[in-house]
């Protein structure tokens, strides 16, 4: 009896979260702020000279496994890609040729991210995922240029899945970021905040406090608690205003203390989606008034609708289900590998592991000509930018890629089958530097892939 009622309650909840009509306003706000933040991000990236520094100047790029075909298209191509990114972000914001804009933004942004894993950031991954979702949700059916172009598009309500999926996405980000913090180093040693916070001792007023061990523990525990619970407090109407103040406070503190760019603002504005449709309708009406737009740009919800079920194509529901399942499972894939996750980084990316470790390393490559037996050293700094070198020196798959790059370089110079060994030392969360890669292994004989990399030296060896 209770089992049946629980089951039916669950079905009802899922049904209302997916198929029932819901006012479009939250989705429209999300579309506008996301487009705006992306446009600002692109301009900022451009203005900082990072297009040139990250994608044009480097001689070599570290592609992702399976995406080796993604290459930097040269200066003209790179600026064109970012031009498309900027235009399509504005298109998303204005709701102009919305689906085309969302698709172009997703493709151009994701392509750029795939060029070089040096620049991997969880927030870029988040942007790619949201951009993909925006290709499917009907966020242009109110308060958009598309509506002016094609008035029949206008709708006051959308099927609930299109708002639910974005909330789910945010929930995954926060909750997994919280789960990732539930480890001994974060909770018991307050690492790496114990290294990072004292570095901010120059800040006025709070500088002294940040240097204390208490501050490191307090920030660690509060951070974990925040990430694990914030979504639930945002979902609950009674706690929501306080939760949102916490969102602003948390992200502004991280913005002040760490060089994390646009991420805090993106999260602060994205979490607005948890607010009620009434809140968003009022917000948009006020925006319309400020911009002197006609009020009917936000159609009123159609109250005559009594069925309470909107048709959702099966393919969309199926796609979204797969999308969520992959994201729910991906952060656990590290369990399939032996060794310490932070040390080997096998299964580390795409898992919302943010600000979890202070890792630094140094690597020299020893090259040997198998015919003459002569050996010499190669310093990666001769071929890589400082940021590429820093990132490579602590990530085994990148060290392997660089070894293969050297093999190819020497092959082009007429030396077949150069032997390339890496002598790498890494320090993780305040442990002293120690050998990272088996320095006897010829890395040119090793292949990248999802298999365990046996040539990573065990952390506690």
């Amino acid at each position: 009896m209770t089992a049946i009622s629980l089951h039916s309650r669950l079905v009802n909840a899922l049904r209302s979260a997916w198929y029932e009509p819901t006012p479009i306003a939250p989705l429209v706000t999300f579309r506008i702020v996301f487009g705006l933040m992306m446009a600002i991000s692109v301009v900022r990236f451009w203005a900082n000279g990072w297009i040139r520094e990250f994608y044009i100047e480097p001689e070599v790029h570290f592609t992702y496994y399976g995406f080796e075909w993604v290459t930097a298209p040269g200066p003209v191509g790179m600026y064109a890609l970012f031009g498309i990114m900027l235009a399509s972000a504005i298109g998303i914001m204005l709701g102009w040729r919305y689906r085309l804009s969302a698709a172009l933004f997703f493709l151009s942004f994701t392509y750029v991210e795939l060029i070089d894993k040096t620049y991997y950031l969880n927030h870029y991954y988040f942007v790619s995922l949201v951009a993909l979702l925006l290709c499917f949700v009907p966020a242009n059916r109110a308060f958009s240029l598309d509506m002016l172009r094609k008035p029949t598009l206008a709708a006051g309500e959308v099927p609930a899945w299109s708002v639910t999926i974005l909330k789910l996405q945010l929930a995954i980000v926060y909750i997994y970021a919280g789960i990732a913090k539930l480890n001994a180093e974060w909770l018991l040693d307050a690492m790496p905040l114990r290294i990072w916070l004292p570095a901010q001792s120059h800040l006025p007023v709070i500088g002294g406090f940040l240097s204390t061990a208490f501050a490191a523990y307090a920030f660690s525990w509060m951070g974990a608690l925040y990430d694990l619970t914030i979504v639930f407090f945002l979902l609950n109407a009674r706690t929501r205003p306080w939760a949102y103040i916490a969102v602003i406070g948390f992200h502004m503190i991280t913005w002040m203390l760490f060089p994390i760019g646009m991420f805090p603002f993106i999260m602060i504005l994205s979490t607005l989606i948890f607010f009620s449709p009434t809140f968003h309708t009022r917000l948009l009406e006020r925006l319309a008034a400020v911009l002197r737009l006609r009020l009917n740009t936000i159609p009123r919800p159609d109250t005559s609708n009594t069925t309470k079920i909107l048709p959702v194509p099966r393919i969309i529901t199926g796609f979204m289900a797969v999308f969520i399942v992959i994201q729910v499972l991906a952060p656990w894939r590290y369990l399939l590998y032996p060794g310490d996750l932070f040390w080997t980084e096998q299964g580390y990316r795409f898992s919302w592991r943010v600000m979890l470790m202070e890792k630094a390393g140094y690597v020299v490559f020893h090259v040997e000509d198998p015919i003459t037996g002569k050996r010499w050293d190669v310093m990666p700094g001769d071929y890589l930018t400082p940021i590429q070198e820093k990132m490579m020196s602590t990530q085994p798959d990148m060290i392997l890629q660089f070894a293969h790059f050297l093999e190819e370089k020497y092959r082009a110079e007429g030396m077949n089958d150069a032997i390339v060994r890496a002598e790498a030392y890494v320090t993780l969360n305040g442990r002293g530097s120690r050998l990272f890669i088996d320095d006897q292994v010829d890395l040119t004989q090793e292949r990248d892939g999802f298999r365990h990399k046996k040539w990573i030296v065990d952390l506690n060896q």
Binding site: F54, N122, F209, F258, V354, M355, W376, D377, G432
Partner: protein
Amino acid sequence: MISAVAASCDKESSNSPGFDRGPLLENLGVNIIVPAYDSLARRAARLEEAAIEFTETRNEQTLGKLRDAWLSAYVAFQHCGYFNFGPADNLIFNASVNTYPISRIKIDDNISSGSYDLNAISSNSAKGFAALDYLLYGENPDAENVVELFDSDDEASARRQYLLDVVEDLRARCDAVYERWSPAGDNYLGTFVSLTGNDVGSATGMLLNGAIQYCESDVRDGKIGIPLGVRSLNVPIPANCEALYAQQSILLAVESIKGLQNLYLGKGKTDGVGFDDYLTALNARHNGDALASVIASQIDLALTKIAAIPEPYSETVEQNPDPAMAAYQELQKLVVLLKADMMSALGILITYQDNDGD
């Protein structure tokens, strides 16, 4: 008893708020960097005087004084090379006073033709300390021979002029970089001590990024590794030794590590706050030991190993490479400690890029 008290003080300092980078920067700037440039500028001025005296009165005695003045200024430079940021970076100081190997062809051509522009970047390999090494010692360092080249050789007069021009260029550059730092000049010192943050553009960030880069490419590789052939298919390149003709490569390399040691320990005219104190305040560890003392010991070890390399280094690299290889490996370990462990413990950033710490 004393050590127990000291240990408990250590514990307290690790928990009590904050290492203030202000006094560290103050000490590095006032006690180390500015005096190092000051000393270099003074010795460069004496070098110029000695060069003028030698060109006017050409004999073995004046040549000896000139050579001494050259070596003295060259030693002073070894302590300055690490400050490769701010004024030195803007003035491209290091490359314009100490590019080596020099181009003998270019120098010989410049002397013969009498037409050259020492300000051109392409002239870096025809001037500076290394060019003087060639001019004052050369293939045949016998004093009588060198005096003859400046006195009665066909090109003696042109050679004297070239010597004076190179020395003047060097002296002017040493003056310029000191002027930029000096509180009486452009007072970059004031800027330096005010940049107390931990980003790339902070004083600590610029100094350490520059100094460690210099330690890697100019000290470990330039002074020891490259002549030894570690970058060239294991084929030694004796011609790439610093102070090749005067055969003072090891003396200069030792001086350069002493410069690093002073910088690390905060030692100038007095022993002040250094990076060792900073690491101690942070209670940074290295596999059970204090990172501060691990680095200090590694600097000592590198110093000992380098000092043990027989001079002339240009012959050692071919005939007896083992002591050089041993020194190179200790320098390698030192670079790992500085670039990975120390930078990580201090939380100093190496780029402006966004970072979410993974």
